[in-house]
């Protein structure tokens, strides 16, 4: 059995009448990149806050590296980047980082050494300009996010927890974040992040857990999850028009469960017992000018829609049938 970086057993949390998380269990192996997926309001942030023990679950237990998360020394091995980011505006960048490092038990000297390293790596310290001496509110938004990210990683945590890390990042910073996540994994660290952007999760994650309305919908490795839901998905691209004719075929619910028009192609989920060949046949009969017809594994996005859409959570959110 692989060693677990994080194990959650049956945690629940309610705020008055509202149940944010309902007996959630999951396990994250050491060294994995783990995605916590779900629509807004699914309970991702609440779950993460319980993991790092800033709110206590009503019931259930959480262990980090085999030790309860109420143990301060196990929490010191965690780096956390909250969804809503912010730092002391009037404080010097270097002092903020030193403070954050010291709070995790880092010595001042060691903290300073690492701050230099990271600042250079994120080009916040160059030959011309050392942003470390500036105050936080003198930095651009992108720079502030870098500083915050450094603060998360300064004490070289074994487990890195990022709450919606991609939100608000421009493509360059998003790429830098992705590279850092990959690098962390190479160094044997465990990365857990939440997101509602399935593309990111699909590219980065070894394993995922989808939660909706405080309940776990599914979890497992990304290939495993895909295999489980794969087989009956078709990507269809048409050359030119003929969409009306095709639409009649695709709206036959005996055969087609769901169609997602992605503009350049349709992503079609067939009913379990439907035969893709029969669909191809009927499309040709309908006179469709087919450019692409391919049996594909569903994207996480598709699985997410299927699973979360099926439970009826926030239909409007997904924007699809």
């Amino acid at each position: 059995m692989t060693e677990l970086a994080l194990e959650i057993r049956g945690i629940s949390k309610s705020y008055g009448e509202y149940q944010a998380v309902h007996s959630l269990s999951l396990a994250v192996p050491k060294g994995a990149v783990y995605g916590l997926l779900g629509p807004n309001g699914a309970g991702k942030t609440t779950t993460i806050r319980m993991i790092i023990n800033i709110i206590a679950p009503d019931e259930g237990t959480i262990t980090l590296m085999g030790r309860p998360n109420t143990d301060q020394s196990s929490l010191d091995r965690v780096g956390y980047l909250p969804e809503e980011r912010g730092l002391y505006k009037k404080m010097q960048v270097r002092r903020v980082l030193r403070f954050l490092g010291q709070l995790k038990g880092l010595g001042a000297k060691e903290a300073d050494r690492r701050i230099d390293e990271w600042m250079e790596r994120f080009s916040l310290k160059t030959a011309e300009k050392d942003w470390g001496l500036a105050k936080i509110d003198e930095l651009s938004r992108g720079m502030q996010q870098k500083v915050q990210f450094i603060g998360t990683l300064l004490h070289d945590p074994d487990i890195v927890i990022l709450d919606e890390p991609f939100s608000g990042l421009d493509p360059i910073n998003a790429q830098a974040l992705k590279d850092t996540v990959v690098d962390l994994k190479k160094r044997g660290k465990t990365v857990i992040f939440s997101t509602h952007l399935m593309d990111n999760a699909e590219r980065l994650c070894d394993s995922v857990c989808i939660i909706a309305r405080g309940n776990k919908v599914l979890d497992g490795t990304v290939p495993g999850v895909k295999a489980e839901h794969g087989g009956n998905n078709v990507a269809l691209a048409l050359a030119g028009g003929g969409a009306e004719l095709v639409n009649r075929v695709l709206s036959d619910h005996k055969m087609v469960e769901r169609v997602d028009d992605s503009n350049r192609f349709f992503e079609i989920s067939l009913q379990k017992d439907a035969d893709p060949q029969a669909l191809l046949h009927r499309l040709i009969e309908a006179g469709a000018n087919i450019q692409r017809f391919e049996l594909v594994q569903p994207s996480l996005h598709q699985i997410f829609l299927e699973k979360v859409g099926a439970t009826g959570v926030e239909v409007g959110m997904t924007g699809h049938g």
């Binding site: 800033i54 301060q72 909250p82 404080m91």
Partner: protein, 452 residues
């Protein structure tokens, strides 16, 4: 404990390094010195101006009273070695007694006038005063001898100190001439009339409570105001700091590293240490001011400050003062911290803090009646109620001997309330920091405290 230290260090250093702190710490004493010294300096300068040119004494008594008066005016009132000779123009001597405004000298020129020509001399003198040749003139005539009245006209006629000096000089001169008339030798007359002046200053001392009565009364008022200011300033500082952490969301990052209780404790202790630092600087500079102030004052030609002494503070009072400051500060800063954690914006915070501010203001509203009647029912009650005790009890202690039982009751009630408040505040703080949206009502707040 290491983390508590890290939090305290940040709270302390970030404040001590701030411009606001440096400004108030340095300019606090400067401002204080300014309000103390300036009025004295101005008064003194006013007196000196009067010496630049001499007042004119029109003596129509024909008894040499004018010369006597001029002589008196030229000498320090408590000078025990009279300089003989009338019309002395000596000046520059300075007196030294607090509360004896009739000290100092005024130079004068005596003009003996025939009574019939007095009116003309007077109108001439009026012209000279108006043309700023003389600062003023004094008229002594037969009425001075019989009815003890005299007239003074001058640009400085409203300067209380000078009028009093002149009055005293006339009074003494009249008495001296009467004593001489009764057959007492002139040398004796001088020393006899001087005694009265010394007696006057003794009487003034006895009006207060013992030797340092007035000083300790002022000391009480200063202590009360300082305590009130410090608790208010630094309590609200804690509140703003909590609100900042909540609004910038930095709280969540910190809470992933330290327990909120430690964060709260570190914040209160760190800010409190800043307050103590400031007080030490202030008290230190006040002590230096009093020690070296006399030298400064003398250099600036001000006699009044010379005998000012720092009141001797009994050890019990000192310990109590520090204790009441610390407990009072903790009580209020915990409440302010809870308010800061409750609200979600700068706009809301002022209103939400009002109940706490009012509790504190109550001690200042009733401060005067309590200072006037420090053993009354109101004073006793307010010095035991924990929310007013931190200011009111020290005030009472500086003015009267507070019964030990009352002191103990006050301290115990305060300490107990502190514990309950910290407990509740920590719970509100823990939940409030992560909450967004509208301010909780009383019912929700109770739930926070219950379930945190």
């Amino acid at each position: 404990m290491d983390k508590l230290w890290v939090v305290i260090k940040r709270e302390y250093l970030e404040r001590v390094r701030s411009k606001w702190f440096i400004f108030t710490t340095i300019f606090g004493p400067v401002f204080f010195a300014a309000v103390t010294i300036l009025p004295a300096y101005m008064t003194n300068r006013g007196m000196k101006n009067a010496q630049v040119s001499s007042i004119r004494i029109l003596d129509a008594t024909g008894t040499g009273l004018g010369h006597r008066v001029a002589d008196r005016l030229s000498k320090r009132q408590d000078d025990q070695s009279p300089t003989p000779g009338p019309g002395g123009l000596g000046g520059g001597q300075v007196g030294s007694r607090i509360g004896a405004p009739a000290s100092g000298t005024i130079a004068s020129v005596v003009e003996d006038v025939n009574p019939p020509k007095l009116a003309m001399a007077e109108s001439l003198a009026t012209k000279d005063v108006m043309n700023k040749v003389d600062p003023g003139y004094l008229v002594l005539d037969s009425a001075t001898l019989t009815k003890f009245t005299a007239r003074y006209a001058g640009r400085n006629a409203s300067a209380v100190g000078e009028i009093q000096l002149i009055e005293t000089a006339i009074q003494q001169s009249l008495m001296a001439s009467r004593l001489e008339g009764a057959g007492i030798k002139p040398e004796r007359v001088d020393s006899l009339t001087k005694i009265r002046v010394d007696l006057a200053s003794v009487r003034l001392d006895e009006r207060g409570r013992g030797d340092s009565g007035i000083v300790s009364f002022i000391f009480g008022a200063i202590v009360a105001f300082m305590l009130y200011m410090m608790i208010m300033l630094y309590g609200q500082n804690v509140m703003r700091s909590v609100l900042e952490e909540k609004m910038t969301r930095v709280a969540e990052v910190i809470m992933a590293s330290v327990k909120p209780d430690i964060l709260l404790a570190g914040k209160i202790l760190g800010v409190g240490a800043v307050g103590l630092t400031q007080q030490i600087v202030w008290v230190g500079s006040a002590a230096a001011f009093i020690t070296y102030g006399a030298v400064m004052a003398k250099a600036m030609g001000m006699p009044q400050m010379q005998n000012m002494t720092f009141p001797t503070v009994p050890p019990l009072l000192l310990v109590s003062l520090v204790l009441f400051f610390i407990l009072g500060y903790i009580l209020y800063s915990a409440m302010f911290a809870a308010v800061g954690a409750m609200v979600g914006s700068q706009e809301e915070v002022a209103q939400a803090a009002q109940p706490v501010v009012l509790l504190l203001i109550a001690s200042i509203i009733f401060f005067q009646p309590i200072l006037l009647n420090p053993s009354g029912t109101l004073a006793v009650a307010m010095s035991i109620i924990p929310f007013t005790a931190p200011v009111i009890m020290p005030v009472r202690m500086t003015t009267i001997q507070v019964p030990p039982l009352e002191l103990a009751a006050s301290l115990i009630a305060l300490a107990f309330t502190c514990l309950i408040t910290i407990w509740a505040a920590a719970r509100i703080y823990r939940i409030g920091l992560l909450m967004t949206g509208k301010k909780p009502n009383l019912k929700e707040l109770t739930r926070w405290i219950k379930y945190a």
